[in-house]
Symmetry: C2
């Protein structure tokens, strides 16, 4: 199949994805869920779990998973060659995600963070430590359970992986819920974003340690942690200083104003490459670069030019991609409902309650603290990325994978309704936050 032939199917996929996202988005809106949850569900609908179940032939010709030659799946060695369009969707999704997280960084209010720094730090630490401890405990008690962990995985690796899986926060999902609910730039939004981003970065570092231990290559962990720290420090000092120096020229009306967007795009792609290369992931790189940009005219200009196309065209690909790769029918096939419920309750309690308690202890009002607990609890699709890596590298079994998928979906679906119940409605009625955005 030549590239022009591929493009025909690609545009058909793109049409189906955008259409399904909107339709499901309109439906879930009636149940108080944000558009982003609609996109996640749209992915599951278009994947093997729904379309594949109802119309398997349509699903596999619309979203072929593997490259075929005369009907046969192409195999190299023992691995099936993935269909190139799955790589296309993945890469476009990554571009959308990077642009989006950059905008989230642009909106991030570092001044507001300074006044709430201790709260943010406590929420962040509580949001990692409590679920990690419970995850470790569960892993310890199931250490010899072959239905959960693959053979050859050491106890340390089991503890680290389940701990990381339970302590992750869906940073892009969190960011989008905060945007859609009108929380951008508010103190609660800033607090949740700060805590969410550091939790996210910490979880990726733990994953890097697990993978390093698993492949006996400690460079993996050193690269992720060292490269990530180096990147954050360099970007928030040198790059921030450089752009601040050039800000007058790059601002609208300045001599170099036409170069602002192309120059930023180059920086952003380099940042995405480096953080992906280190294993700390492009999501983090883009967010930090957004924080490093000067506030005011430049941030506004960039946001107004990047955000519309990103949220309406590119970003939906990210939320759909993971759904396309999720096979919900695996769930329950192992008969592991007991451990599923334990992991689910432990995740919710540890993350939600710990974050609530940490925020409350640092003087946040009860409703605000509850709202932070509700938001931090969403695992979203970052969880799915981590799980896919764990499954692919043979750390966990398909059964544990499915259990953790349930956990990710349930915690994500819970987030917005609980947030609205404990905080959103009251705050909106009192005029403390903006109105919820329709799209």
């Amino acid at each position: 199949m030549s590239n022009p032939q591929l493009a025909i199917l690609f545009f058909l996929q793109f049409s189906a994805i955008l259409l399904t996202c909107r339709l499901v988005g309109l439906i879930v809106k009636r149940f108080g869920q944000p558009q982003v949850v609609g996109e996640m569900i749209a992915g599951v609908c278009l994947g093997p779990s729904l379309l594949g179940l109802l119309l398997p032939a349509v699903q596999s010709s619309l979203f072929p998973k593997f490259l075929r030659d005369a009907g046969e799946v192409v195999v190299i060695g023992t691995t099936k060659v993935p269909h190139p369009l799955m790589s296309v969707i993945y890469c476009i999704a990554q571009v959308g995600l990077v642009l989006y997280m950059f905008c989230v960084g642009l909106e991030f209010d570092t001044k507001l963070l300074r006044t709430r720094f201790r709260s943010a730090l406590s929420v962040s630490i509580a949001g990692i430590a409590a679920p990690f401890a419970l995850g470790a405990l569960i892993a310890y008690f199931h250490r010899d359970d072959a239905s959960l962990f693959a053979p050859g995985v050491s106890l340390t690796e089991e503890i680290l992986f389940l701990g990381a899986a339970m302590s992750i926060t869906a940073f892009p999902m969190l960011a989008r819920i905060i945007y859609e609910r009108g929380l951008s730039g508010t103190s609660i939004g800033t607090l949740a974003l700060a805590a969410g981003s550091s939790d996210d970065a910490a979880a990726w570092c733990i994953l890097a340690i697990v993978l390093a231990s698993f492949s006996h290559d400690w460079n993996i962990a050193a690269m992720a942690i060292g490269g990530g720290v180096l990147y954050a420090v360099f970007t928030l000092t040198c790059i921030r200083w450089l752009i601040a120096k050039l800000a007058a020229k790059l601002s609208p009306g300045g001599a170099w104003s036409v170069y602002l967007l192309p120059f930023t795009m180059i920086l952003l792609m380099v940042a995405a490459w480096w953080t992906d290369y280190c294993g700390i992931y492009a999501v983090f790189g883009a967010f930090i670069l957004g924080i490093a940009m000067p506030r005011g005219a430049i941030a506004e200009e960039l946001k107004s030019k990047i955000e519309p196309l990103t949220t309406n065209l590119l970003l939906p690909m990210f939320f759909v991609y993971s759904g396309l790769n999720t096979q919900l029918s695996l769930i329950g096939a192992g008969g592991l409902w007991g451990v599923t419920i334990i992991i689910l309750l432990a995740s919710i309690a540890a993350k939600g309650l710990a974050c609530f308690a940490a925020a409350k202890l640092h003087g946040e009002p009860t409703r605000e603290a509850l709202a932070i607990g509700a938001l931090m609890n969403a695992r979203g699709l970052m969880e799915l990325i981590l799980l896919n890596i764990g499954l692919e590298r043979g750390v966990i079994t398909p059964a544990l994978f499915s259990i953790l998928v349930i956990m990710a979906v349930v915690t994500t679906l819970m987030a917005t309704p609980i947030f609205e119940l404990v905080y959103g409605r009251h705050a909106r009625a009192a005029g403390r936050i903006g109105s919820a955005k329709a799209a």
Copy 2:
């Protein structure tokens, strides 16, 4: 290579492409060339013709052409499996191109066209007929030349293919030069766009006839011509009427204003799929859809949200992709300099002079008519797409391919300087057109 691993190389490619485009763009600007020519040259620089010549190992690891397994190129049957990232770049380039041509359609002034309709029609017909006739003549005299045409190609096919290759106009390139030179919405810009778009559509129809004849399947031609006409009529009547009906609600401040962009994106992807599927190509589909949108607030809103990210991030991929696939070293290898010069001169004379004469005959002032001749003469990368299809399907030899690549590059490089010389400077000094845009 899993998708997350692919993404690392992808972001590196993306960084290299955007950086090279800007650097080359700044250099060619000193020679009076627009940014888009810089992007085309950037592609050639990153491809086998320059980077591949100087640092072959770097080129092939930065832009691998084929999928490899343990160092060996993967072969299915007799075809080498292309590297998935070439498909990724191609598809992103297509998305950029579609968004861009949609914006060109949004700016297209149908009212202005009506006053100049006869000029536009004459320029369009002259711009097809004259180069087609000369191309046919050259093909006729070289009908038995095995160095130009592959064996088994009939005389009719030879005539049609060379005719189409010589009569094509680089519609996206033309559109971008018109934008960069400040000609959008002027009478000369509108005239050139109208003539360019119909020439482009006609050339693709001729190509469809060649391919139909070559594969003895007349459905190919019927689909391209019938599907294209059906699409244009349906879009410019039903879709146009529907959106005009909803315009008040979709406009900024209207009840459905948040749905304007997502709704348009779905329409655009469906239009791209259908026109690609028919073989008339997505470029044409996107342009027609842009024309069908209501002018005024809606067109402004869409343009301001789509254009910045498209021209600065996605569209450069299109101009670079073709360069990545061009092997300039093939040129001259056949010792066919004589026929090269004939084809080059015939293309320039037939297209440039015929369009000039047609415009002049319909009462356009001499400078305007010369400017139209200069702009219509650019073959740009549409030519390369057509040539790649011809080469891939075995209609032409690599030698004729290389000759036509020279022709495309020379006619494209000529366009802007000649335009500036005969018209741009004078018109700009007299305040009839806006200033040239830096980016």
